[in-house]
Amino acid sequence: MKLKVLYFARLRERLGMAEEVVELPDGMGMVAMLLDVLRARGGAWAEELAAGKNFRVAVNQDMAGMEAPIEDGDEVAIFPPVTGG
């Protein structure tokens, strides 16, 4: 399945990209599994998305937890804690 993955703010800069299409094997239908695939790239990916790091995930524009389901065509955004207001 294919996901559109977006990165914002400090993570966008550290990872060097704003968006990409990530292809996952069928059956990897959870946010945590996408993160495992991204971490496996090593470098800044492994560092910034490490388990203890403070970041947020949204699936189809709603805040989501690590166990949230993901499906083909979903938009997944990964970003630092928000600082508006």
């Binding site: 977006l6 914002f8 703010a9 400090r10 403070n54 949204a58 524009q61 709603d62 805040m63 938009e75 955004a77 970003f79 630092p80 804690p81 928000v82 600082t83 508006g84 207001g85």
Partner: protein
């Protein structure tokens, strides 16, 4: 309800006038305006850039206002949040809440700001004499939002 994300400035007086226009049930309006400070975390701030997640911002703000509407009796709400480059003293955000009595307006205004600070996808980047840096979320912001679910 008016929710607007824009790079343009807003006129607080005009927004409050529009919020309460034509509704004689309104007995109270509480508002909050957030401004760019010229110092943060020990550094001078020359300017600030607000980034956001356009596809998500509007619906996140709508969800926060809807949640406030569940908790208090509100007659109307305006939320305006700016994006792009801002200078010290510029207005960043307006939350204005209209209700029949002041308690609902005060509480909902604070709730909306507290949730906006932790749920709405905006990020600030400051220009300082030491270079550009992303603003970190404060633990006190998380605590302020968490208090509403106690």
């Amino acid at each position: 309800m008016k929710i607007l994300v824009d790079d343009k400035d807003f006129d607080v007086g005009a927004e409050i006038a529009a919020l309460r226009a034509g509704n004689p049930h309104i007995g109270a309006v509480a508002s909050f305006v957030g401004l760019v400070r010229d110092t943060n975390a020990g550094s001078d701030v020359a300017s600030m850039t607000l980034e956001h997640y356009p596809a998500m911002t509007q619906r996140a703000l709508e969800a926060i206002v809807a949640e406030a509407g569940q908790r208090w009796t509100l007659l109307d709400v305006t939320v305006i949040h700016r994006v792009g480059e801002l200078q010290p003293s510029d207005q960043i955000v307006l939350v204005a809440v209209a209700s029949s009595h002041r308690a609902d307006a005060f509480s909902a205004c604070k709730f909306i700001m507290d949730y906006l600070k932790t749920q709405a996808p905006f990020w600030k980047k400051e220009q300082t004499p030491e270079g550009a840096r992303w603003v970190e979320q404060r633990a006190t912001d998380e605590q302020a939002a968490a208090r509403w679910s106690e």
